[in-house]
Amino acid sequence: MTGAIELRIPNDPPFHGVARLVVGGLAARHNLSFEELEDLQLALVTVLEGDDYAAAAEVCVELEVSDDAIAMAIGPLHGDVVRADLEASSGDVLGLGRLLATLVEDAGVEAREDGDWLRLSKRVRGIKPAEANA
């Protein structure tokens, strides 16, 4: 990811707040709305705290901003578990798939050298750096 923010944290709940704050900082710089920020943070924490998702003691979160979207990648994860949860929670089941379908526009597992990563993409309203608004 060119120009992306990369955050590596221990896979431990007290550190998940750090990841939330980083997403918050990015949202502030790019004029995301409170609701868009909330959606991104909830999507991130849902994945970070998912049972049996993380494949290592450390988890990495990558964030990349484009003109109209924020992409977020989280890994390395147990791709088979995440895929199963994404597929299982359709219809009336409120699981990972249903949550992410509401919170972001796109979610999918991609294979990388160090394992599987979950890639999320959220379209946001008119991103522009906060300084440009002054």
């Binding site: 409170f34 409120l94 699981g95 949550l99």
Partner: protein, 258 residues
């Protein structure tokens, strides 16, 4: 021998004859209950094993204080003791997770500002807009929002701060009367983990994830602030996750014994 009779026999052996082996057996028999209850609180930032240890203290106290002539099952007596011990543990640690007063006040102020600006701007406000309206730095806004998250997650039976938060914990929610629901919501209620939620939490999740309403639309419909909707959504998702983990625990335990 039925489980209750076995419990009674062990309790008699311990209380009447001082048989410590019987006490050990009782502790072992009730460990799955401790683990199950501890799991419900493990998403609040504490390690599950630490909470199981704390819960065991509550279990031992319950076994030691149990009055065999009162005609109550040990499960009934032990459950509030175990939960009480876990809650005490969180209360005792409160000093290390307490949010500074200034941040608490800013969080409450932001809660009002989010609603006001949403009406005024006819869209959800940005962080810089919130910072300007609150006359603070953007970093302060982010920190206050994060502290609100920590407060909602770590507070147990304490009020969630802000508006009309009624924070039901797992024990208090037992036996809560459920009111009639629309058919579509009934179906959603059947989903794993949703049984752990109270009626309002289920309704809010339904509106957000099945009806596709935004937080501000839900806030209007339910009559609470947008920030409160946000807190309830986060907490409900955490509770569901804990409930699902609790439901899966016996299956995992039996699989690991094979």
């Amino acid at each position: 021998m039925p489980e209750e009779r076995k419990d009674k026999e062990l309790l008699r052996r311990y209380h009447e004859r001082g048989d410590t082996d019987a006490r050990e057996q009782l502790i072992e028999r009730y460990l799955p209950l401790v683990r199950s209850l501890a799991r419900r609180y493990s998403y609040r930032g504490e390690q599950l094993e630490d909470l199981v240890q704390v819960g065991c203290i509550g279990l031992i106290k319950a076994i030691d204080r149990f009055d065999i002539d009162r005609g109550v099952e040990l499960t009934t007596y032990a459950t509030p003791n175990i939960i009480g011990e876990i809650k005490r543990h969180f209360r005792d640690k409160g000093w290390s997770i307490r949010v500074p007063r200034g941040l608490q006040e800013l969080n409450v102020k932001l809660s009002h500002l989010v609603d006001e600006l949403t009406v005024q701007l006819e869209r959800s406000p940005t962080i810089p807009e919130l910072a300007k309206a609150a006359d603070v730095e953007e970093e302060d806004v982010l920190e206050a929002l994060e502290s609100g998250q920590a407060y909602a997650t770590l507070s147990l039976s304490a009020p969630g701060g802000g508006d009309d938060d009624s924070d039901l914990d797992p024990l208090e929610s037992l036996g809560t009367l459920e009111h009639e629901y629309e058919v579509s919501e009934d179906r959603a209620v059947l989903a794993p983990g949703l049984a752990a939620l109270d009626e309002r939490e289920r309704r809010i999740l339904h509106l957000r994830f099945f009806e596709g309403l935004t937080q501000s639309q839900i806030a209007q419909q339910v009559g609470i602030s947008q920030m409160h909707v946000s807190r309830l959504i986060r907490r409900s998702v955490e509770k569901m996750r804990a409930e699902i983990a609790t439901e899966e625990e016996p299956r995992r335990a039996s699989e690991s014994r094979r």
